[in-house]
Each structure stands twice: as C-alpha cells, then as structure tokens.
Amino acid sequence: MRFGVVVFPGTWSDCDFHYVISEVVKQPVKYVWHRDRNLADLDCVVLPGGFSYGDYLRAGAVAGRSPVVEALPEFLAGGGLVLGSCNGFQILCEAGLLPGALMRNECLQYRCQSTSLLVENVDTPFTRALRPGQVLTMPISHGEGKYHAEPETLRALRQRHQVVFRYATAAGQVTRAANPNGSAENIAGIINEEGTVLGLMPHPERAAESAIGGTDGLQIFHSLLGSLVEDGTFTKR
C-alpha cells in the first residue's frame, strides 16, 4: 500500500508517520509537499500532527485551504483513503471534509497524556481489524482538541455510525472524567459518510511499537492493509 505523508510548514508528526509506515508497517511511503496537487500514485494520504502555518489563524485553517488539501476530493473520488491525526483532523474539519470543528481544550491548557479509546465502528477501512467495544490506548498531544458540532450534526453522526472512537476509561466506560479535552459526547475520532476519511485527535503513530507506548495504534495500519488486499485495490493499481 502506497502512503503519502503530507508536510505543511510547521508539521512535526510527518517524520514519525514516515518512520512507522516504512520501518514498522514496512510499506512504501513518501513525503508530499503542501504545494503538491498530484496524488495519483498513492493509496492513502496521511495528514499528520503539528502546527501547520503556526496554527496562527485557527488550528488547521490555513492548511485546510492549501493546494494539497484542495486535491483531496479528486483523490478520494479515485478510491483513495485519507487519515488525519491531531492537526490533520483539525485540517480535515477546516476543509469541510469532516463535519464539526476542534476548539480549545476545556481546561485551556495543552494536554499530552495517554488516553483510552472505545472503538465504536469497526466497519471502516481504518478499523476493520478491531472488535466493537475494544479499548485502545493511544496518547494525545494538543491544545485544541475539543470536538464541537451542532446538535443535529451530532445526531447524524450517531445515526450513521460515524463516531469511530470515544474517550473512555480503561474499562470502556464513556465518562466525563475520561474526557481529556471536553469534546462533545467524548468524541475522539470520526469518519465521513463514505467511510474514506478518518480524523482523530490521538496519535496512532506514537503507539506503534511496544517500546514506545504500546502497539494499539498499529491496528489502524493493519486495518488499512487488510482493506486494500481484500477489496482488490492492491492488485488493481
């Protein structure tokens, strides 16, 4: 599976995703510069964490209007998949590829800590290797990760099973105390209606090796590889 990791000015999880995809997942991967619109030779585009353009207007606001992000609809239409983590999730919301917005953490401080994520939807290319109700451990690292959406949007997300991950206790209880940033309904990650764009605030690339915070994040990559092989895209291209 051919991955592209997008680099905006101010991105910093690019090297980590690149490392995990090439050294741990052992898949071909290249960096994609933010001015690049040509994504034709890729199967999955990763929008990594960081402070694109310094997040100076709003987190992800400038990057959400960059050439590479403008090229994403066409890439998706051609069968591509997009994974946005942390700043990548913020960018996808700013670009309108995912509903809602990410606002300043309720505690008004940056938070870097381990979180437990309840898996709610395993019927996606990003989560098919998981079990519903499974709890994953992945770290967060952000100042603006409080998911916000209008009540009707939240209702629609629920009805269409677009909420993929919720912050929970280690036992899988979705509680207020387990919510690290005040996100609406403890939402940590959502997918678009078509099931081709996943955005999440946690960092799967920081949970991909047992020596570095566990391997739960790897499940997302394994799901992706499985999807590709099974639906034939791998052989098709």
Binding site: P9, G10, D16, G50, F51, Y110, C112, S141
Partner: protein, 723 residues
C-alpha cells in the same frame, strides 16, 4: 560599562569610539556575553575526554556516542527575562537553546527544564509558574521537540529571581557537525530567518545587572518568540547544510548581529564587512545601533561558499524565509559595519572578543559558620512518622510535577523510551540499538550551606540518575546561577562551587562540554541560593537494558546500595517540617560514588534489577515511597533500616551515593555475587508487596501507611497550589 573599561577601549582603538562602536563593546563585554567575572574559574573544569568532539566555545558541546552518531547538548538560562515577562521569557529561552543545537547541524530531540521559584502559595509566584510553564509548552510544542524532563524546586530566595534553565539535546552524524566560523576570505555572509525589529535591544546587558523595584519597566528588553518561524528555520538550516554550501553558522542570540559578526571571524582569524541596510527589517527607520543590538528571535548568520549562493537562497525560499547576503568575510582584522554606505563602525574583531577578565576578591561569608554548626537533631523528632512522610511526599518540591509536564509534548519524534517521572529520561537513537539517558540536577540549599560539596553532589546526583536508568554518564553541561559577583561572598560561592563541580567531574571522568553562567540574580539586594544546575548525558549501548524507578511487582527483594552516612543538614525534611535551612551536609566520597554507579549499571546491564531509584531529597523513606507510588499501579513494600541513629535521621536524612533497587527473588544469588565483585557497601532491606509502606528502624515499626494515601499526597502536593 565602567570607566576603566572605557579607557581600555580608547587604548585599543587609539581614538574615541563612535556611539555604535560603544554599543558593540558594551554588549559584547557584558557579563552575559563575555563571562568576565567567571572565566577565571571556569577554566578549572575538565573539558576533554575520549568522547569529546566539541568542547566549550561553540554554540554547544558534542560527544561521540558510537555508530557514527554524536549527541549535541547545552543548558542555558533565561532567568532575568522570565521574571520580567514569564511567558515570553521562558518561551524565548527554549527558542534560544534550540537554535544553539541546530546551528551545530543537529536535530533537537529533547528539552529539559530546570526551574526554581519562590513559595507556590504566593500569588505572584503562581503567576510566574503559570507563565513560565505555558511559555515552555507553547514554544516547545509548536516547534515539535519533546520536553522530557527537568526539575522544579522552591525556596523563598527565588521569589524575586526565578530560575529558568533550559537544556536541549540533539543528534547529528559525528562527521557532519557545523561550527560558528567565518572562514574563506571573500565568502558571502548571509542573514537568514526572521526579520529584525526593535525587540530585545540591551537584553544581554539587562541580564548582567541586578533588579530593583522597577524591574517590570525592563519589559521592552524581553524578546518575543515565534516557534513556527523557528521550526521553518530548523528545517531550512538542516536542508541548507545538507547541500554542502554552508561554511559556518551561528545563532543570533544575545547581542544579536553584533555578536555573530564579531565572534565568527574572531574564531577563524578573519574579518567581516556588513551592510546593515540589507538586513531584513520589520520596522522602519532603525538605526545602526538598533540593528546591531536587536535580539529579535529566530535569526541566523551563515557564511556560505562563494559561488553557491543560489543553492542557499533556493532552500530558504522553499521554507518562505529571508536569506539575504549582507556582507562578506575579509582578511581581517576588522569588523567593518556600513549603514547605507556610510561606515558606522570599524573595530578589530579581537578587541570585541577579548573582554576584560576580572579576578575580584572573594571570601567566605561570616554567617556561614554558624549556619553550618546548626544541629538539626536539637529539634524534636516527629511523634507521627506516617504523617511526617505524607507531608514530605506532598511538599511541592517532592510532589508529582505532572501538572507541568502534561502541558508538554513528551513524545514527538517517537524516541522517548522512558517518559518524565523517573530518575532520568531515556531516548532511543533510531537505526541503532543505542539510547541516551538525560537528567538535570542542582540543589541550591545544599550549595548554599557548602558550595563545594553541594556542587559536587549535584554532578553526582545527575550522573547517578543517569546510571539508575542504565546509562553510562558521558558528559556534562552546567548552568551556574548566582547572585552579584561584585560581592565577595557571592564570588566565593561561585569559586567554591566551580571547584566542587571540577572535583566531581574529574572523579567521574565527565568532561564539561558547554554551559552558561547567569550572575546578578538578585533583587533589591537579596541573592538567590547559589544554584549550579548540572545536566548529564549518558549512553545505553543496548536500549532494551534500561531501568525505571518504580516497583514492578510484589515479591521482589529490595536492596540499598551505598553508604549509611546521611544528614538532615540542608534537607528537604528540615525545610518542610521545621522551616529551617542549616546544618552540615553528609560526607561525599567520590571514589565510592563512582563504584556505586558502576555497580548499579552493571546490575541493570545484567538484567538483575526490576527498579533502580536514587535516594535524594527526602532520604530513603521518600525514595521507597516514590518507588511504591510513581508507577502505573501503586505497590507497597516493607523494609527494615539499620538502628543506631534517630529515626527521623535514618528515614529522611540525605546523603550521596545511595541507590534503592528491587531484584526478583530468583536472581538474588546472582545479584549478591555481582555486588560482592563491586566492592561497595550494600544490604538487603526488604521486599515489595501489599498495599502499605511499612518501615522499621532498629526493629521498631515507625512507618505503616497506606500507599494510596501517599500517592494521593504526592499527586496533589504541587497541583493543588496551581488550581
């Protein structure tokens, strides 16, 4: 600047200096830039060793860690700016040290912060802590370098002079280290990065004076940081270096352009001419004086190879940064500065680099003898040791610092094998089996009572922390924070402390490869506790052979390695319980220290220990309590400590060279054999298990407390002040 210094300039130039020239001398001859009061002492520090690739005198030091890699590191202070404007002061402290690391060609992989404040109950101090921690968080997180360690300690002496010392560690291929040199006559000089404004003018001179009531009025001398631009500058500089077109590079830090344009040619025996009108500016009508002395952040001076200017411009254009040729390297000996064609300064670079060195008189303060003679055992022993231990675990200095470090990204780079919260942080070196362990330490109270031994103990403790993680200490960076050197007693503290650092570094074979001196940490005549902060970097040849400080499971045996000698003099217990600062420190045997650390590393290397923890502030009782509660799940333990001393001294007394380890029962014989070989004093003292911490002294149970209670005290002790 003094009248004598002015006369010296007249002599050197043979004429009156111009206003701009005087500005150059004033900044470059400031204490901050020239170390004129401390240089005489600093040369006593050992600076060489088999691993040293770069010692003091460059932007940072460098050590060879094998497999073709080098670690580049340095610690620096930003104390004065952080008191005036805590958020920007601390943020630009992080920015400055990051640039020192990546000008060497290294990618920064870790930041550690050593912070000192007054009483956290005081609203003003709380404001400073909030500002400093959020400033560090903002800059480091946005830039994308993990903040992985450091310490926060408190004493009233820091209330008017908080300390913000930031250490940065970077990695570079050992044969690709860049230096701050201006070589090759005719080579172009490039200004790259942020535009120049009026911020930070006189920063270096501000940091070379004491504060009085009007300190806040100096706010305009604090720089304003932009971590986003710094991140672009990092990527652009590393990319530019990879082209091979960069000859030398220096960060425009203290004294800005003035510093770079004189220091770089001075190191290379060349000269430089620059045209200030070419400098990218964000304000209109800046004078030559302002352009030379601005401390605007995120700027570098690069000497490039002639004919390869385009390669450099292309890289910086890609990252949307200015890269403008402002001059060229000359045969010397002068720095010639023009502004719109007019010559505004012409000074030999050596004259700027050769600031006067002072050997001022110093003497031990008269009050010290009495303070040291204080006998802590004249105070009553606690009636309730459970409560005494709980209070100590909840003291802000010892309590969990999670409130601060959860605001820092600790993992970006996916190298952090041991997160903050253990004796040392451990980071892997990708593509090798190696890892590095890093720790900072420095106990102002100890140094106040005995500068020489206290400073030596700081080296030992930082190195011991690294050894407790399984790392072999390789080198040191130090930040010497003191009051005004113009007072003989302060200069004596500095002289003694440097001697102590030197003794310990020699004994442990640790070269000091870089650092920083911060003097004049006084407000209205009250000096800080003398605080040398020591950063140690160590190497694990096998990253899988690391240790952490917390107990892993029940049923492991517990051993205490090292001597029995401890003291309540200068201890955290004496301060927290009795509000007293006095007494004598425990003896320090450097040779024994070396052997204990070697024994701990050997035991970790053989996979014999499941936890290793340094006995530091709070003594063995706190060390054991920390081993119980700092892991993911709290585990109790029971230990019997030798009789012969009063129980409070046994439990809470502090002394060097002591380490607690846990060992699986099945490996006890092997461990005993290894300890016998190591020729160090050691003893089994107990075992892990249960939900209580139970300590006997001379057969009598003196502590029997639930680990949950201890954990609660420890988790909330600092955070409750910050809410």
């Amino acid at each position: 600047m003094t009248a004598e210094e002015y006369d010296r300039i007249l002599q050197r130039l043979g004429r009156e200096p111009s206003y701009t020239e005087l500005g150059l001398f004033s900044a470059l001859w400031s204490e901050h830039c020239a170390y004129k009061h401390s240089k005489v002492f600093l040369k006593r520090l050992p600076q060489t060793g088999p691993h040293v690739l770069q010692g003091p005198g460059e932007n940072a030091g460098a050590l060879d860690i094998g497999d073709g890699w080098a670690v580049v590191f340095k610690i620096e202070s930003h104390n004065h700016p952080s008191f005036i404007e805590p958020f920007q002061g601390a943020a630009t402290g992080v920015g400055g040290i990051l640039r020192d690391i990546f000008t060497m060609g290294a990618r920064p992989i870790a930041i550690l912060d050593s912070l000192r404040f007054g009483d956290p109950n005081d609203p003003k101090t709380r404001h400073l802590i909030h500002g400093v921690v959020s400033g560090i968080s903002w800059y480091g997180n946005c830039f994308g370098c993990p903040t992985v360690g450091g310490e926060i300690a408190f004493a009233p002496e820091y209330a008017g002079n908080p300390l913000v010392n930031v250490m940065c560690v970077g990695l570079v291929r050992a044969d690709r280290i860049f230096r701050a040199r201006a070589e090759g006559v005719g080579n172009p000089v490039f200004y790259v990065g942020n535009k120049t404004g009026r911020d930070g003018i006189h920063g270096a001179t501000m940091a070379s004076a004491t504060f009085d009531e009007g300190a806040e009025a100096k706010r305009p001398t604090v720089q304003v940081g932009d971590p986003f631009t710094e991140k672009l500058l990092l990527e652009a500089c590393l990319e530019a270096m990879a082209t091979g077109a960069v000859v030398g590079i220096q960060d425009m830090g203290a004294a800005g352009l003035a510093c770079c344009t004189s220091e770089m040619p001075a190191r290379s025996g060349t000269g430089m001419t620059v045209e200030l009108a070419s400098v990218p500016q964000r304000e209109e009508g800046m004078s030559a004086y302002e352009l030379l002395l601005s401390e605007s952040q995120e700027r570098m001076l690069i000497v490039a190879e002639r004919g390869r200017e385009e390669e450099l411009r292309r890289v910086f254009a890609k990252w949307e940064l200015d890269a403008v040729q402002i001059g060229e390297v000359t045969a010397g000996p002068d720095l010639t500065v023009r502004h719109r064609g007019d010559e505004v300064a012409r000074v030999p670079v050596d004259a700027l680099a050769e600031a006067p060195k002072y050997e001022k008189p110093y003497a031990a303060p008269a009050w010290l003898k009495e303070l040291r003679a204080f006998d802590p055992l004249a105070l009553p022993a606690p009636a309730d040791y459970d409560e005494a231990l709980r209070a100590l675990m909840g003291a802000p200095a010892l309590a969990s610092k999670e409130w601060a470090y959860r605001q820092y990204d600790q993992q970006v780079g996916v190298n952090t094998l041991v997160l903050p919260g253990s004796d040392a942080t451990v980071l892997r070196v990708k593509g090798t089996r190696r890892a590095i362990a890093v720790s900072t330490d420095g106990n102002g109270r100890h140094v106040f009572l005995d500068p020489r031994r206290g400073a030596a103990m700081a080296v030992c403790e930082a190195a011991r922390n690294v050894s407790c993680a399984g790392g072999r200490p390789l080198g040191v960076t130090d930040c010497l924070n003191f009051g005004s050197p113009e007072r003989p007693e302060i200069l004596w503290q500095l002289a003694e402390a440097v001697e102590g650092l030197a003794e310990a570094c020699r004994a442990l074979e640790l070269p000091v490869v870089g650092g920083n001196v911060s003097l004049y940490n006084e407000t209205s005549g009250l000096a800080i506790l003398p605080t040398p902060v020591v950063g140690v970097v160590g190497l694990l040849e096998d990253a899988s052979q690391l240790a952490t400080q917390w107990f892993k499971a029940a049923g492991h045996r517990i051993a205490l390695l090292g001597p029995d000698a401890v003291s309540l003099g200068g201890s955290e217990y004496l301060w927290t319980r009795h509000g007293k600062q006095g007494g004598a420190l425990a003896p320090l045997d450097l040779e024994l220290e070396r052997r204990v650390q070697a024994a701990v590393r050997a035991a970790i290397g053989e996979g014999l220990v499941t936890a290793a923890h340094d006995c530091a502030e709070g003594g063995i009782a706190v060390a054991l309590a920390e081993a119980c509660v700092t892991g993911k799940t709290a585990i109790g333990c029971e230990a019997a400590l030798p009789a012969g001393m009063r129980a409070d001294l046994t439990l809470f007394g502090e002394g060097p060279s002591r380490v607690v380890v846990s060992v699986e029962g099945g490996r006890a014989r092997e461990f005993e054999a290894l300890m016998a070989e190591s020729a160090i004093p050691w003893q089994w003292i107990g075992a892990t298990g249960g939900a209580r911490l139970r300590l006997r002294v001379g057969g009598e149970m003196v502590v029997d407390v639930s680990v949950d209670h201890l954990e609660h005290a420890w988790r909330n002790g600092f955070e409750r002040h910050m809410a």
